[in-house]
Subunit: 195 residues, 4 copies
Amino acid sequence: MSPLREEQLDQIRDERKDQIVQAAIKVFARRGIIGTKMSMIAAEAGISHGLVYHYFKTKDDLFSMLIQGAVETSIASIEGLYGLPGSPLERIRLLTEHILSKENTPYFMLIYQAAHSDGVPEKAGRLMKEYPLQAYIDRLLPLFKEGQQAGEIADGDPEEIVGNYFSILSGIMVLGEGYRIPNAEFVMRTIVKPK
Amino acid sequence: MSPLREEQLDQIRDERKDQIVQAAIKVFARRGIIGTKMSMIAAEAGISHGLVYHYFKTKDDLFSMLIQGAVETSIASIEGLYGLPGSPLERIRLLTEHILSKENTPYFMLIYQAAHSDGVPEKAGRLMKEYPLQAYIDRLLPLFKEGQQAGEIADGDPEEIVGNYFSILSGIMVLGEGYRIPNAEFVMRTIVKPK
Amino acid sequence: MSPLREEQLDQIRDERKDQIVQAAIKVFARRGIIGTKMSMIAAEAGISHGLVYHYFKTKDDLFSMLIQGAVETSIASIEGLYGLPGSPLERIRLLTEHILSKENTPYFMLIYQAAHSDGVPEKAGRLMKEYPLQAYIDRLLPLFKEGQQAGEIADGDPEEIVGNYFSILSGIMVLGEGYRIPNAEFVMRTIVKPK
Amino acid sequence: MSPLREEQLDQIRDERKDQIVQAAIKVFARRGIIGTKMSMIAAEAGISHGLVYHYFKTKDDLFSMLIQGAVETSIASIEGLYGLPGSPLERIRLLTEHILSKENTPYFMLIYQAAHSDGVPEKAGRLMKEYPLQAYIDRLLPLFKEGQQAGEIADGDPEEIVGNYFSILSGIMVLGEGYRIPNAEFVMRTIVKPK
DNA sequence: GATGAATGAGAATTCATTCAT
DNA sequence: CATGAATGAATTCTCATTCAT
C-alpha cells in the first residue's frame, strides 16, 4: 500500500460516504425513518445496498449521523447571526429567509422526523434531548430581546414570541409538497411591532 | 334473537368500532401509516388484533375511513363559516381558533399523513385527489375576498394570502409535541390589514 | 322439559346435523380440507358458524365423520353387489354406472381428499388405514374372478385388473368440473374379454 | 465485477431457481396451492424462506410460473406427436405411455390443481383460460380422426372419444400414491376398434 | 472496496375455536 | 339451541443485516 494508493482509497471513501449521506438525507426527509429502506438509499446513491454497510454500521447509525449534522448545522447558522452586522430585525429577517429557502427543507424534515417518529434510534433520540427544540429558542432569545428593546419586535413575553416564531417556521418547512411556502415577509408580520 | 339482543349487539359493535377508530386516529396521527402497527391500534383500544380485523377489513381500509372522516369534517367546518354572523375577519378568527384547538390536531396530522406518506392506500389517495389542499383554499377564498373588500384583510393576491394562511396553520398542527402552538391572534397578524 | 319438547329438540338436532353434514360434504369435496373454512360450511348450511361447533367438536371431527360415512356407504354398495342377480359382468356394469352417477362424486372426492391431503386429521387418517383403497379392491376381487371364470372378463392377474379398474373410476370421479365423464360402457371396455 | 464473477452469479441464480422450482413442483403437486406453505417449499429446497422471495415475488407468482411451464410442456408434447412416424394408433400409444410415465405425474397434478383449487392466482387462472382442457382435446382430435379413418380407433363421435380418453388419463395421473397406475395397453382398450 | 445471495426477525392478515348473552 | 364477538396461532411477505466471493 503506497501512500498514494492510501490517499486514493481515502478519497474514494470520502466520496462514497458523501454520496450515501446525500442520498440518505433525501430519502429520510421524504419518507421518515421507518418508511426509508436501505435499498432506497443505495438506489438513490447508485450503489449496492451491501456497500452502505461498509460505511455505516446500521440504518440507525446512518440516521443518527444525519441528525447530528443537521442539528449542528442549524445551531451554527443561528449562532452565526450574532456575528453579523445590522439591526436585530434585519438579522432575523435574514435568518427567516435562510430557513425558508428550499435547500433547508431536508434538514428541518430530518429534525422533525427525529423529534417525532417512534422508530427514532437511541442515539438520535439522545441528540434531540441534548439539543431539543428549546435549544434553538434559547439561542434566538437574546436577539429577539434586543429587537424588543430597539422597538422593532412586538411587545410580550419574548420566549413566547420566539417559540411561536420557531413553530411557524418549523411547521412550514415540514409540510412538504403541495403546500405553499410563504415568503419571509409574511412570517415576519407575526413578530414585528406594529407602528 | 330478541330485539333487545339485536340492540345490544349493535351497541357493542358501535362501541368497538368507535374504540378502534379513536385508537387508530391517535396512533396513525403520531406514527403515520407505515409506522403504525395494527397491534399498536389493538393495544391502544385494549382489544386483540384479531378483533380489529373483525371490524375493518385491512389497515388501509381503516386508514382510508379515518381520512374520509377527517376530510369531511374539516371541509364541513370551513363551509359552516359561511352561515355564521359576524364580519369576515371575525369569522376567520373563529376558524383559526377552532383549527388551533387541541382536539383538531389528529385530523390535521391524518390529512398530512395522507398527503405525504408513501404507503398511502389507493382509496385514501383518491380522496386526497378529490379534496386536495386546493379544495380548502378554494373554500376559504370568498371569505378572504370579502374581508379584503371590507378593508379588514391585507391587500395582495387573495389566493396567495389564503395559501400562506393555510400553510401556516397546517404546519403548526402537524408539528406535534415539543413545539409551542401559537394562539390565534399570533397567526391572524399575518393576514390582517395594518391600520 | 316435557317429553314432547324433548322430541322436538331431538328433531331439531337431527335436522341441523344433517344440514351441516350435507353442506360440509359439498364444500369439502370441492375445496379439500384446508381450503374449506368453517364459515363456508356454516354459510352453505345457512346457520351461524358458532352453531357448527354445537354439533361437531372440531373441523377435523366433522371431516372424519364424513369420511366414515363415505367409506361405509361405498363399501356397503360394493358388498351389496353380491346379493344381486345377474352375471358378474352385468353386476360390475351396474356398479360402474352407479359409481359414475353424478351424485357419487362428492363421496369419491372426499375419500380422495382423505387419502391425500396432508391436513388429514388423525381420525380420518386412521379410517383410511383401516379401509384403505386395498379394501375396495379386495371386495371386488371375487366378483372379477367369477367374471373371468365365466369368460366375461379379460384374462390376466385379477388383482391387477381390479386395481386398474378402480383407479380409472376413482380418477374420473375426482376430476371435477371441466372434464368429461365417460359413460360406463367406455370404462367397461378395459375389462371385458374381447370375443 | 469480473466476467468470471458475473458467470458465477448467474450460475448460482440458475441453480437456486431450479432448486426452488423442483421443490415447488413437488410440494404444490401433492398439497395444492392453499395446502402448500412457502416454508415447505423452502425446506424442500433446503434454503431459507426469505430466499424463495428473492427469486419469486410471491407464492402465486411461483405457482403461476410452474403452471405456465407445465402447460407449455404438455401442449408441446402433444403437438410433437404430429411430426412422428407410425400409424395414428401407434403414436397415440406412444403418447399414452409418455403421459403415464412416473415423471409426468407432477405436471398433471399441477394442471389439475390450477383447474380446480380455489386459491388459484389470477395469472394461473388466465393461463388455464387460454389453454383450457379443451385445448388438449382440440390438439388430439385430428390424430384420433385419422385413426378412425384408418380403422384403428373405435367408431363414434371423435370428440367424445378424445374427451373420455383424456379424462381417464388425467384422472389416473391425478390420483397419486396408493392407487395403481394402469399400463398404456389397459387404457388403449377404451379407444381401439375391436376386430 | 464492492456486490448481491442468503438469513431470519417482525408485521399484516386469516381462520379455527371459545364463550357470553 | 343459536348467535356472533373475541382471541391467538399460523402463514405470507418485507427488509435490515451478514458474508462469501
